[in-house]
Each structure stands twice: as structure tokens, then as C-alpha cells.
């Protein structure tokens, strides 16, 4: 159960949770599009992207600490780029000198913009993932004509990922309980066998799952009950979202 924290969050109830997944997908994609397309020299414009994000976070009642931790987890990828920007972007005025390296204001600005973009997009994606059950998210994507094969692969991945994690956990426990020193060379020697075994078990399981699907009349198409409902609140959120950003663009122009 420990690996399903996102599911616990998405099972909560709040006005954001209750929105149709399509509304949230549209808003998230549009938001990310706006954030990454704001020119780098318009930091003020980027600042206007923060209020809607804070509003969504506040209304959804999601734990802030969890979000910040997740962002930290992803930050190493961006951090490496952020560190190099001030030294490599030779635009604007020189603001400092670190040994033989020169730091320029243009580079600092670029770093700041990149960090802001990173935070905004990651937070938006996390809010979407944490307020929408995965099955509903897939259904929403299906409505947007994402290929069914892709949806099916994602659906199975989500369904069996935890089964696989549990299976590998059990194998690891079985190995450790028969190893005098867990984590030593013996563990390393056992790794290829375990990976192979996990593959074979997964392959066998896929056979059994396919049999179970056939037994219930599977003919190549996965059918689900259509149960997405577009409410007044969805229309209001979409209209509010569009109005806010149109206003921001007009004012900032």
C-alpha cells in the first residue's frame, strides 16, 4: 500500500477533484503552454501565472509539503542547467566574477525564468495527477483521441506496476533471508537471475491475464462505461481560466 500515495490524494474530495478530467487536462496543457512560451525577458508576465496555480493548490487542499518534496526530487535535472546559465550566457551586464568566470545579468535572468517555468509546469502536472484518479485521467485522454493502444498500455502499466514491485520485493526478501550478508557480492551475483526470473514471471502473468480477458469476451477492443460528466463548474473554470489569461496578456502588452 505504501506505493499508492498519489491514489490516496486523488481519492480526496474537493472542488478541483470533482472537476471533469477533461477540464483539468485542458487547463494543465494550456497553462504549461503559456508558461513555456512566455519570452525570457518578461519575468513579470510569468509572475501572473502563479496566482491560478496557488488558487488551484489551495482549493484542492493538497498537502503543500508533499508537493515541495516532489519538486525537489525532480530538481537535479534542472539544477545542473540552472547553475551553468549565469556563466555561459554572456548577455546584459557583468554582475560578478568568480575566479576566471564572469557572471552576467542576462544569464541570471535566464536561470530565474527557467526555475520559474520548471516550478510552474511541475506543480501544474502534479496538481492534475493528484486530483484525478488515474483511470479518470486515462478516460479523459481517450476522449481527446489519444490512441487506444497507448491508453491500454498505460492502463496495464498502472494496474500491474505495483504487483511487479511487490513481486520483486518478495524475491529480494527471499534472497536476503538466505544470504549471510545482505547487499554483498552474493546479492550482486543473484541480480541477473532475479531480473530474468522477474521477466519470466511477468511473461507468464501476461499469458494468464490474456486468458482472463479472453474468458470474458475480449475481442481486441477494451470497452468501458462512459461516465465523464461535464458540469456547469467545468464550464465556469474553463471560462475563468481563459478570461484570466486573456486579461493578463492585454494588460501586459
Amino acid at each position: 500500500m505504501h506505493h499508492a500515495y498519489v491514489d490516496q490524494l486523488s481519492a480526496m474530495s474537493s472542488p478541483v477533484h470533482r472537476l471533469d478530467p477533461r477540464t483539468k487536462i485542458i487547463c494543465t496543457l494550456a497553462f504549461c503552454g503559456i508558461v513555456v512560451s512566455v519570452p525570457a525577458d518578461r519575468l513579470a508576465l510569468l509572475a501572473w501565472c502563479v496566482p491560478p496555480l496557488c488558487a488551484a493548490l489551495a482549493v484542492s487542499r493538497l498537502p503543500l509539503l508533499y508537493f515541495l518534496k516532489r519538486c525537489l526530487l525532480l530538481s537535479p535535472f534542472v539544477a545542473t542547467v540552472l547553475v551553468f546559465f549565469p556563466f555561459t550566457q554572456h548577455s546584459g551586464t557583468e554582475v560578478a566574477r568568480v575566479g576566471p568566470l564572469h557572471v552576467y545579468s542576462g544569464g541570471l535572468l535566464m536561470s530565474a525564468v527557467l526555475a520559474a517555468r520548471f516550478l510552474c509546469t511541475v506543480l501544474a502536472a502534479l496538481i492534475l495527477a493528484c486530483t484525478t484518479p488515474f483511470a479518470a485521467l486515462l478516460r479523459g485522454l481517450e476522449k481527446f483521441r489519444v490512441p487506444r493502444m497507448f491508453i491500454m498500455v498505460l492502463s496495464f502499466l498502472y494496474r500491474y506496476l505495483f504487483v511487479l514491485v511487490d513481486e520483486s520485493d518478495r524475491m529480494r526478501r527471499a534472497r536476503d533471508s538466505r544470504s549471510p550478508r545482505p547487499g554483498g557480492a552474493a546479492a550482486l551475483r543473484a541480480a541477473p537471475g532475479m531480473i530474468g526470473m522477474l521477466f519470466i514471471r511477468t511473461y507468464d502473468r501476461s499469458d494468464r491475464v490474456y486468458s482472463a480477458m479472453l474468458a470474458r469476451g475480449f475481442d481486441g477492443t477494451v470497452r468501458t462505461l462512459d461516465e465523464l460528466h461535464f458540469h456547469v463548474a467545468d464550464a465556469a473554470v474553463l471560462a475563468g481560466f481563459a478570461a484570466y489569461f486573456i486579461a493578463v496578456f492585454i494588460v501586459a502588452r
Binding site: 500500500m1 499508492a4 491514489d7 481519492a11 484518479p133 488515474f134 483511470a135 486515462l138 492502463s155 496495464f156 498502472y158 494496474r159 500491474y160 505495483f162 504487483v163 502473468r205 494468464r208 491475464v209 486468458s211 482472463a212 480477458m213 479472453l214 474468458a215 470474458r216 469476451g217 475480449f218 475481442d219 477494451v222 470497452r223 468501458t224 462505461l225 462512459d226 461516465e227
Partner: protein, 239 residues
């Protein structure tokens, strides 16, 4: 008497040449509750997988509800035979309980309203009303098994086939399952090692050993025959 399942000289060999079934002939009447018991590797699961055409017989014939099961009739006969697999994680492959229980009826081409009605009814029958939105891996072993049964009940099968239904269930979940199985009106065929469950649920017992029929008779007399059970690697439920 009208036989709902009729196996005649059923043989099956796997690709590697292992002969799993060596000529099984069995007739089962509508409403009967039959247990197939036997040691590991006796061919119990292989036999069950033939009942809705997942495995094809190497020789012999299968009749379900009076019709021969073959390529032409398999799509029509499959909804009549609901198979519940041994491992519920294999049976429950959709992201939510609702999607899983609706999977079979939707494949049968039923209207969404009818599907919803059947889902609600099937979950109610197994005592899990209100579980629609749950993800299968959040459920306990007993709940998973109950949902697995609901996934076939929603197809309104005439024959319910269960592979090791009580395996890995705790006492309470097992009790609940036994109560459920005895309350269902379906023809029931179950492969199991749980002979105490057999004594409570089934009218008739078939012993399979080495792919052959070793015994077939009323549950009470077969389960009381300690010698017969021991000869086929089984233990009398009374001992």
C-alpha cells in the same frame, strides 16, 4: 436429464508434449455443484480452461448447454461459462473495480444502462456494493476474490467455474466465500485442495490424477473414503 456440461474423451497435450488430460468423459447436470480434486499437476486447471475454449482439446469433444464447443460457437458459449482464475491479480486487470466488472458485459454488446445495472447487482451479490471506484490492488485478498467472482456474475453465466477459490484466504474471507457459493443458483465447477470447503459446498466430487478420471461420485461418499483419497495424494477432511 439435460446435461449442461458434457466432456467426451477429452485429451490435451501441451506444446512440450506433456499429456495433461488423457481422455476425460464427464457429464454434469444443470444446478450441480461439482468439485474437481486431485494432486498437483493432475490436470485440474487444464480441464477448467477447456470449459470456455481458452485451451483447445487435442482430441475429444466438449458440449456446453447442448452445443458443441468449437471455433464457430466459442464466442456465443463463452458468456455462459464464467471462469474465476486462481490468482485474482490475473483476473482483475482494469484500473478500477467498476471497469473490471463492466468488462465482460460490455464485450457482450449490452447497453450501458444494462451494464450499470448488472455491475451494481453483481457487486451487491458478492457483498461489495459501493466498491466501484476502488483500485483492485487496494483490496484485501478476500475482497479481490469476491470482485473476481463479480466480474463473471455480471455476465450472467449459467456455469460458474472456479480455480482454487479459497486458496490464500483467511478464515473469515473463506467463510464468506463459502456462504456466497452456496447461495448462488449456478451450476458450479471448482478445482480445489480445500476438501472441507468441498464438503460444505459441493454435491459431487471428481478425482483427477495423472490426467485421468480416478473417481466420480457423491461428495459425501468420496470424502468419507480415506483410502481412496490417500491413494491420490489427498487427505480426508475429517482427519
Amino acid at each position: 436429464m439435460q446435461h449442461i456440461v458434457s466432456l467426451n474423451g477429452l485429451k490435451h497435450s501441451y506444446h512440450d508434449g506433456t499429456a495433461a488430460l488423457r481422455g476425460i468423459s464427464v457429464q454434469i447436470a444443470a444446478g450441480e455443484r461439482v468439485a474437481i480434486i486431485g494432486p498437483n499437476g493432475a490436470g485440474k486447471t487444464t480441464l477448467l480452461l477447456h470449459l470456455n475454449g481458452i485451451l483447445q482439446a487435442t482430441a475429444g469433444t466438449i458440449e456446453i448447454c447442448g452445443r458443441k464447443l468449437d471455433r464457430a460457437s466459442v464466442a456465443e458459449l463463452r458468456p455462459k461459462v464464467g471462469i474465476v482464475f486462481q490468482n485474482a491479480d490475473d483476473q482483475l486487470f482494469m484500473p478500477t473495480v467498476l471497469d473490471d466488472v463492466a468488462f465482460g458485459p460490455l464485450n457482450m454488446g449490452l447497453a450501458p444502462d444494462e451494464v450499470s445495472r448488472r455491475v451494481t447487482e453483481a457487486l451487491g451479490d458478492v457483498g461489495l456494493a459501493g466498491f466501484e471506484r476502488k483500485a483492485p490492488y487496494h483490496l484485501s485478498g478476500g475482497e479481490k476474490k469476491a470482485v473476481a467472482i463479480a466480474t463473471v456474475l455480471s455476465m450472467s453465466p449459467e456455469i460458474l467455474v472456479l480455480d482454487e477459490p479459497t486458496g490464500s484466504l483467511d478464515h473469515r474471507a473463506r467463510r464468506r466465500l463459502i456462504r456466497l457459493l452456496t447461495s448462488l443458483p449456478h451450476t458450479l465447477i471448482t478445482a480445489t485442495h480445500d476438501l472441507r470447503m468441498v464438503a460444505e459446498v459441493c454435491h459431487r466430487v471428481i478425482i483427477l490424477d495423472g490426467g485421468k478420471l480416478a473417481a466420480d461420485g457423491p461428495a459425501a461418499s468420496i470424502l468419507a473414503d480415506a483410502k481412496l483419497l490417500e491413494a491420490h495424494g489427498l487427505e480426508s477432511p475429517g482427519s
